[in-house]
């Protein structure tokens, strides 16, 4: 049986579920803490016990991304691949790839200074949604309803002056029901989907208390998810979709290290099982 390794930096319920399922499927399974693993240019795959396939599950995006680069350097099959993690971890890259591959996606503006961002807002009008290009769980996502709100957010960004604060990602506020869809794509299939309803504000993240409700995997949903998956390079992905009043389904985000404890409560298929089986199947091809 292929050996499965799960790389983590913090063990969440998802990592425990993956470990449990891999053991149950009969795989020699080990958890590897990225924080205490050293790799060098002189390292060889045989120096480590990375098994036959690694699921990279770090909660820190940059840690996971760079660890993945090391794994690929060593020739260890890893999910997701570096390129996919890179494409999904940065919302701007994701949006560009979705559009380039003709996946319906909200209209999004990219500015590279506060002055240019204000110019876009004044020209396009309010509201627009500002999102950090790196980050998750809805943090830093703000509906800019008017110039005063925009000025406040931009001022905070200028004070922080982090390198990523200089990249402004402004997205149309899609007219939609107060919910979105989270689908999990594993390889060439959508294995589960749910509606995430807002817990009050305009955000629908489960991390913020959004309630999971089962969502039927229609042909339309399956098609748009597969196109989005192909656009970013495929693998194990969490795809976020909104139901635009006029355009129908639009993909706004693709997540690389998908969290699924909310969806696992309502999914018909066993999510960790599908992930483990796909990783093993793909690695031993």
């Amino acid at each position: 049986m292929p050996k499965v390794r799960i790389v983590f930096d913090r063990v969440r319920l998802e990592e425990k579920m993956l470990e449990e399922k891999a053991v149950e499927l009969g795989h020699d399974t080990k958890m590897i803490d990225a924080k205490i693993t050293n790799v060098s240019t002189e390292s060889k795959r045989s120096d480590f016990d990375f098994g036959d396939v690694v699921l990279e599950r770090c909660v820190s995006y940059f840690r996971g991304l760079h660890f993945t680069a090391c794994l690929e350097f060593l020739g260890v099959p890893v999910f997701n691949k570096f390129e996919v993690a890179n494409n999904c971890g940065n919302k701007m890259i994701t949006s560009l790839l979705l559009k380039k591959h003709n996946v319906p996606t909200p209209k999004t503006y990219f500015s590279f200074s506060s002055e240019s961002a204000v110019e876009v807002l004044d020209k396009e009008g309010y509201p627009l949604v500002i999102k950090p290009i790196i980050g998750s769980w809805g943090r830093g996502v703000v509906l800019l309803k008017d110039r005063d709100t925009a000025d406040a957010i931009i001022e905070v960004r200028e004070l922080n002056d982090g390198p990523l604060d200089r990249i402004y990602y402004l997205q149309e506020a899609v007219k939609r029901p107060p919910r979105d869809i989270r689908a999990i794509a594993v390889g060439d299939q959508v294995i589960a989907a749910m509606y995430r309803t807002s817990s009050g504000g305009f955000k629908t993240n489960i991390a913020l208390g959004g309630e999971p409700v089962p969502c039927e995997i229609t042909k339309e949903l399956e098609d748009i998810c597969m196109k989005a998956s192909e656009a970013v390079g495929g693998g194990i992905l969490g795809i976020d979709i909104m139901e635009d009043e006029k355009r129908g389904l639009v993909v706004h985000e693709v997540n690389n290290t998908v969290e699924f404890k909310g969806l696992a409560k309502v999914a018909k298929r066993n999510i960790p099982r599908e992930m483990i089986e796909y990783a093993v199947r793909s690695a031993v091809k």
């Binding site: 983590f8 063990v11 909660v59 940059f62 980050g135």
Partner: protein
């Protein structure tokens, strides 16, 4: 074992694994289980939620 921060009694579930976070019910400090040997755990301060944390 006792909380390294405030010395309160810290109950660590038997099935807790390395990498999991335990919180002190008294002072609220978060610790990561760094190693586990039977019922003996080594704790270290948990990392703060980073800007790049998430999915």
């Amino acid at each position: 074992m006792n909380c390294p921060e405030c010395d309160a009694n810290l109950k660590i579930p038997d099935d807790a694994s390395v990498g999991e976070i335990v919180s002190c019910p008294d002072c609220g400090a978060d610790f990561e289980i760094a190693s586990k040997n039977g019922t003996v755990c080594e704790l270290k301060h948990a990392e703060k939620v980073g800007e790049d944390w998430g999915e």
